[in-house]
Amino acid sequence: MIFRSARVHVAACLALVIGFAAPTRADAETTLRAVMQSDLKILDPIWTTAYIVRNYGYMVYDTLFAMDAKGEIKPEMVDTYSVSADNLTWTFTLRDGLLFHDGAPVTSDDCIASIKRWGARDAVGQTLMTFVKEMKVVDAKTFTIGLNAPTGLMLQGLGKPSSNPAFIMPKRVAETPPNEQIKEYIGSGPFVFKAEEWKPGVKAVFVKNEKYKPRPEPPSGMAGGKVVKVDRVEWIVMNDQQTAVNALKAGEIDFMEQPQIDLLPEIAKSSDVKLVDGNPLGYQFAFRFNVLHKPFDNAKIREAVLYAFNQEDFLKATIGDPSYYTECKALFICGTPFASDVGMTDKLESNFKKAREMLKDAGYDGTPVVLLQSTDLAVLTNLAPVGKSLMEKIGLKVDMQSMDWQTVVARRTKKDDPAKGGWNAMFTSWVAADVLNPVSAAFINASCDKAPFGWPCDAELEKLRAAFAREADPAKQKAIADAVQVRETEYPTYINVGEYRLPFAMRKSVEGVIAAPVTIFWNVEKKGG
């Protein structure tokens, strides 16, 4: 009797407390709570290439052009554009009604200042700016870009989907020196960032930009009408993946951007949650060589590794489920315009006999390969042991050194001898949208000291990349991209060890997620709570 009475009291107390604490239905209807891939730490999408900051950029800022679902570049803020007969003068006119979040209209001055800052930071932007002679304001909505030579990078650059996209900021903000972070977070994008509600490590909040004027076309990839269908989006920081999955099942969050691969079967079993392949281009695993030191200073030894590796072993060990990975030897992402298997047909087949012969012919002297293994990023952890095993099969000595990702990131910048704190090789992964052509793919940059870590140095590759930048004809660009790929088999700067996709996990009530190379929240709605 006493026990039953106590239970009644406990239940009553619980009901009272839950009544106090539970969110109202109206709140749940219009707020989309998402757990993103990582915490938003930096608020300048031009200053850093971090993907979470790029995603933030797409919430707050708009771009002049954008890539649609077919991979074509379409106008976004731009209404009309034209290029002169000699391909040296581009004229852009902005759409009517574009406003920054503070109510000021977007002008040509803002666009020019933003392009200048982007052009100082972004790899494609830097190449594009070598062609730019001048940028001129025609009127408040029209501006021109004059070139000293034709280039095919104009639209590809201004509409590039991934880090760093050419986001348009107010002129006063865009005039911040490129090496300093901006301090004002005003864009003209479909969402307004609530800086006062931003709690680093906890959450970032965006509300619908009521002044935003979407394009009339339906959304397609990153392009088309950006119609916002929720009042508020909250990016909740959750370090523990299992907690995020539990929260998703319980309806406390609506969306998980990158659920861990090993949790997907558990998520798939839940009746309230669905998995959606929202980024069909996915990601590419990359094995990066450091060409400064033995043994990988020898291109023939790097080529031997290209023969020793196969993609299936890496993909099985890391992703497991074949529905989430693709064996694709093309450097420039299968299914995109510059994808090709030219030069690759006999590579990445684990032809150990040939690889061993090549290693012998190259005069390998037994110098161990210092291979960095990241142990705290689940998606990367298993790559290094597979790489070690495959390299050892052809006779390379491998010293695999395990460390956390941040240590890998610091270590890979060191040019020191591998025996004295340097390195020979490491694995990483790219968003496919960063690897779509020879200029945007950072690992193909072979400009010696100016190239990213690994520092490949090859005049032939650089000549081809420059030719690609100059070429405006897509068919000729394709031929150059093929030539780059062939050159990469002779002078490997990195090895593509496979493509994979990570599905979004979301409540079944969430609809309208657009398949795109970047996670975007326009068109997304919550139905039925």
Binding site: F20, K41, N239
Partner: protein, 313 residues
């Protein structure tokens, strides 16, 4: 007494100095480079060097130390490398969840464990004693994250009684504040209930055999009065010591619980900062923890006097 207090407060200075030097050096000796982390995958070494210069990491370590120490002396904890917010504001944001969780846990643990331990001592050798000691062993043995996931599975996912995760600030309503802390504080308190119950049992057992307890019984006092007024009070010194240390441990050591329940407290801030090599944040938080330890120890020492009039400083 006043002299003692002054001496103890003054002792904070060398502790802070030693901890400050150690944490500063250890961070610099730890592999990792915040500039490389910030710069991202596509950055050249030139980009990274620029960021390093902006963060002041290109200066000699000794210079970096004196700049930091000089700022600390004026109460300026510096700015987070990543968030571009002052470290003081980051800590202020994270203090409430950690304190709330620690206080609630210690209240829960004390309220449950002291009577349990006393009862176990009073009924030494009985089934109650064995039950309490059995629970104590189990409480010590079960990892916190296992208890956390178990409670989440039962009470959040299956029964939907409590939220899986999150924290609501006290200023946003007491109901929601308490509601979100129930599972985390139960999770954390289990190990402290185990510890405190065991400690209470041992202390009370020792006191129950003292002459003055026998005298109290001989005077005809009720068993309850004997235990509460004579035994428990005299057994309180070691119990209070453990409770005090537990509070300090809770403030600095609730990382797992904060992560599993997604509570944005100091523990998570510390781990995030360490993983990102956010030196100013790690340095400030570690110093704060060191000062907390010193101050809690001081408070315990002062409490001894109230509990045992024989103790004087």
């Amino acid at each position: 007494m006043l002299m003692y207090l002054c001496r103890r407060i003054a002792s904070i200075v060398p502790v802070v100095l030693v901890v400050g030097v150690l944490v500063f050096l250890m961070l610099r000796l730890t592999p990792g480079d915040p500039a490389a982390v910030i710069a991202g995958n596509s950055a050249s070494n030139e980009d990274i060097a620029q960021i390093r210069a902006q963060l002041g990491l290109d200066k000699p370590i000794a210079v970096q130390f004196f700049i930091w120490a000089g700022k600390m002396a004026t109460g300026d904890f510096g700015e987070s490398f990543f968030y571009k917010k002052t470290v003081a504001s980051l800590i202020a944001d994270r203090l409430e969840p950690t304190l709330a969780l620690a206080v609630l846990t210690i209240i829960l643990a004390t309220v449950i464990s002291v009577p349990l331990g006393t009862l176990a001592a009073y009924r030494q050798g009985s089934w109650i004693d064995r039950l309490v000691m059995g629970f104590s062993v189990a409480g010590f043995s079960a990892p916190v994250f296992v208890i956390a996931y178990l409670l989440i599975y039962i009470f959040s996912v299956k029964l939907n009684w409590f939220p899986v995760q999150g924290y609501q600030r006290l200023s946003d309503g007491f109901g929601g504040f308490l509601y979100r802390l129930v599972l985390p504080s139960i999770t954390l308190s289990i190990v402290y209930v185990a510890l405190l119950a065991r400690m209470t049992r041992t202390s009370v057992l020792e006191v129950l055999n003292e002459d003055y307890v026998r005298t109290a019984r001989a005077k005809g006092l009720s068993p309850m009065k004997v235990v509460v007024r004579h035994a428990l009070r005299n057994a309180a010194v070691p119990i209070v010591t453990v409770i005090g240390i537990s509070i300090a441990l809770l403030i600095s050591g609730v990382v797992v619980t904060e992560s599993v329940f997604n509570i944005p407290g100091l523990g998570r801030l510390t781990v995030d900062a360490v993983l990102a090599r956010d030196y100013p944040t790690v340095q400030a938080v570690v110093l704060l923890f060191a000062m907390t330890y010193v101050l809690i120890n001081l408070a315990i020492d002062l409490l001894y006097m109230a509990l045992d009039p024989r103790i004087r400083y």
